[in-house]
């Protein structure tokens, strides 16, 4: 249960602070405490150790509070995360990525990241990390105490050129839900800018899978 709350906190943090140059992972759940608040819900107090996989030598500690609301299943958990210290700056990588995508003649299109064998071509790694930002949002918004989501795969991504300064990517991501073991396709559109960060502009859950 605490691990599920940690996954929500991580999703939230990825959405807020993630980007094409930052790969936040949970290294350890150091401490967890649950508080049952009458008529409100269950609140988890967490101490997490995170790492940016692209900067492996450094771990960052953070505290998080995750409040799952009672009954109201359609309401996202309230999350607060405080990062102690600084996350490694990704300004350069972000700008490089931004310039590279902006200069593409044809809109970027890709499928199956990683592929069946776990491979990610290096030039698609930032695309995958950006999918992690989008998934972070989905995980935060859609989690309950009885779910634990992970981004399983980017099924499809299509860049949409815009007249303003944002980059737009339309993703279909596969989210793996641990408790039911379902793999759920989800359409999600991300707008991203090196200085403004990323935000999800639209999302739509697809049914888990056909009959087989």
């Amino acid at each position: 249960p605490a691990a599920r709350a940690a996954a929500v906190a991580l999703g939230y943090l990825r959405y807020l602070r993630g980007g094409p140059g930052r790969a936040l992972e949970l290294r350890a759940l150091r401490r967890a405490r649950r508080q049952d608040i009458d008529d409100v819900g269950h609140k988890y107090y967490l101490e997490l150790e995170l790492e940016d996989v692209l900067d492996k030598d450094r771990t960052v500690n953070c505290t998080a509070e995750v409040l799952y609301h009672l009954g109201n299943k359609s309401s996202a958990p309230d999350v607060q995360v405080t990062v102690q210290g600084e996350l490694r700056s990704t300004e350069e990588a972000d700008q490089e990525f931004y310039n590279r995508i902006r200069s593409l003649e044809k809109e970027l299109v890709a499928e199956n990241i990683p592929d069946s064998h776990g491979n990610v071509p290096p030039e698609l790694e930032p695309i995958r990390l950006l999918a992690g930002v989008a998934s972070g949002y989905l995980i935060w918004q859609n989690s309950t105490e009885n779910t634990k989501f992970h981004l399983a795969q980017v099924k499809r991504v299509k860049q949409v050129k815009r007249s303003d300064e944002d980059l737009q990517f339309d993703y279909v991501v596969l989210l793996h839900e641990m408790v039911s073991q379902e793999v759920i396709p989800w359409e999600v559109t991300v707008l991203w800018h090196p200085r403004r960060g990323g935000r999800v502009s639209r999302d739509r859950r697809q049914p888990p899978h056909g009959p087989g």
């Binding site: 996954a7 949970l26 350890a28 199956n112 069946s116 399983a152 641990m178 039911s180």
Partner: protein, 420 residues
């Protein structure tokens, strides 16, 4: 060998293809301007027909020269006369070319000729794994045999490798991988385990001592229909591929289909879900075949079912919160096994009973095997913790298998030393 070289030369002459018989590749690293000059002089001597693989760049940079057979003597003389040292990088270029040809033919047929040339660092198809099993048995007929314990829904053979140094119905260890087909690192690890057992036995180390008194059974592709489906259609397929009347949906979760708390909370009765338990216990041939095998063998002492991902070592129960009678011993054994696993690459595992560590799950494999009296019943969830999940990069296969093997050995040794 001589004959083939001669033939190659004749064929080459006849067909006008180039041959490199007797050619050598020499390496010179010029350490002074004089030496550099001497090497550059060679470039001008066209009649020597030298082929510079690495052209002279400057002092300290290697210069690699392919020298045809009849130019070897003059080139070496030229260098030696000026005190320029050289080394022979390739003694016979043609030999390398021939080797490469063979290798390319081999890989274009997609069949390694021995388990020594099998690529353990890659994911393989069902055919490749079945072929591997046959090779392993052929290479080690006194140790390894292949048993067919049944057939899958789509009529694929269910194969179990038996590792035994003799005896009759010795106490045994069972390991299965790939029961959930999308968990690819498990089948890949199973292949590695099979080879490891053989190697240990040859070198009289590791599990060789266990094999003196116990047999090991290893089912590498426990769900071949699902596995084939992950290769051809849906990489994320988990279940079997059975179709039961009353639903258009396909497949039963083979880890909810066992007769332990079957159908209770912790499995789904909806055929279209991933944890569908099936119409009744052991409805799936993949499960029934193991049940029949375990019952008729009657002497299995340790049973390990391997899954991914999450990095967990689990013992029963999943279908009830009641702790197993042997809880203390299993918990302590888990601690030891996990410590051994982590010692190799620092991979972090958690451990505990299924229900307290992940979730309630009914009809699970090791709950049934434990209730059959197999005290040392464990489930592993291998790497990773979600970064790649089911799509674990192939280069992590061997490290994962290596560290898991250390934990398995702890369990097997404990079973051997605590016979019941």
């Amino acid at each position: 060998m001589r004959l083939s070289v001669l033939l190659a030369a004749l064929v080459a002459v006849a067909t006008c293809t180039e041959t490199f018989v007797g050619h050598q590749v020499l390496r010179v690293v010029p350490k002074s301007d004089e030496e550099l000059l001497k090497v550059q002089e060679l470039q001008g001597l066209e009649h020597l027909q030298l082929d510079f693989w690495l052209a002279p760049r400057g002092l300290g940079f290697p210069v690699d020269i392919r020298v045809p057979f009849r130019s070897l003597q003059p080139v070496k003389a030229h260098l030696e006369a000026s005190g320029v040292s050289y080394s022979i990088m390739i003694e016979d270029v043609q030999a390398l070319v021939d080797e490469e040809q063979t290798e390319m033919l081999r890989s274009s047929r997609q069949l390694p000729l021995t388990t020594n040339t099998f690529n353990y660092e890659a994911y393989h198809t069902l055919d490749e794994i079945y072929n591997f099993m046959d090779m392993l048995v052929a290479e080690n007929p006194n140790l390894v045999s292949k048993l067919e314990i049944g057939r899958s829904t789509e009529n694929r053979p269910l194969y179990v490798l038996k590792f035994s140094t003799g005896g009759t119905n010795r106490p045994a260890v069972w390991i299965d991988t790939g029961i959930h087909s999308r968990e690819w690192v498990t089948q890949a690890s199973g292949v590695w385990f099979a080879k490891k057992i053989v190697q240990d036995h040859s070198n009289n180390e590791g599990v060789a001592s266990i094999l003196k008194t116990m047999d090991i059974f290893l089912e590498i592709v426990t769900n071949p229909d699902g596995f084939a489906f992950t290769q051809t259609s849906n990489r994320m397929w988990r279940k079997t591929r059975s179709k039961h009347s009353g639903s258009i949906c396909i497949g039963v979760d083979p880890n909810r289909n066992w007769d332990a708390g079957f159908g209770e909370a912790g499995a789904s009765s909806n055929p279209c879900t991933e944890t569908y338990h099936g119409p009744y216990a052991n409805s799936e041939p993949e499960v029934k075949s193991i049940v029949d095998f375990v019952k008729s063998h009657g002497n299995i002492k340790a049973f390990v079912s391997i899954h991914s991902y999450s990095q967990l070592l689990l013992y029963p129960y999943g279908y009830t919160e009641t702790p197993v009678p042997d809880q203390k011993e299993l918990h302590e054994l888990s601690a030891k096994a996990v410590a051994a696993l982590s010692s190799l690459y620092g991979t972090n595992y958690k451990y505990g009973s299924i229900i307290t560590t992940i979730y309630r799950a009914s009809g699970g494999t090791i709950d049934w095997t434990y209730n059959q009296g197999i005290k040392y019943s464990f489930t592993f969830e291998l790497r990773d913790t979600g970064r790649y999940g089911f799509l674990l990069p192939a280069k992590q296969i061997v490290p994962t298998a290596e560290e898991t093997w250390l934990a398995l050995k702890v369990i097997m040794e404990h079973a051997r030393d605590n016979m019941y």
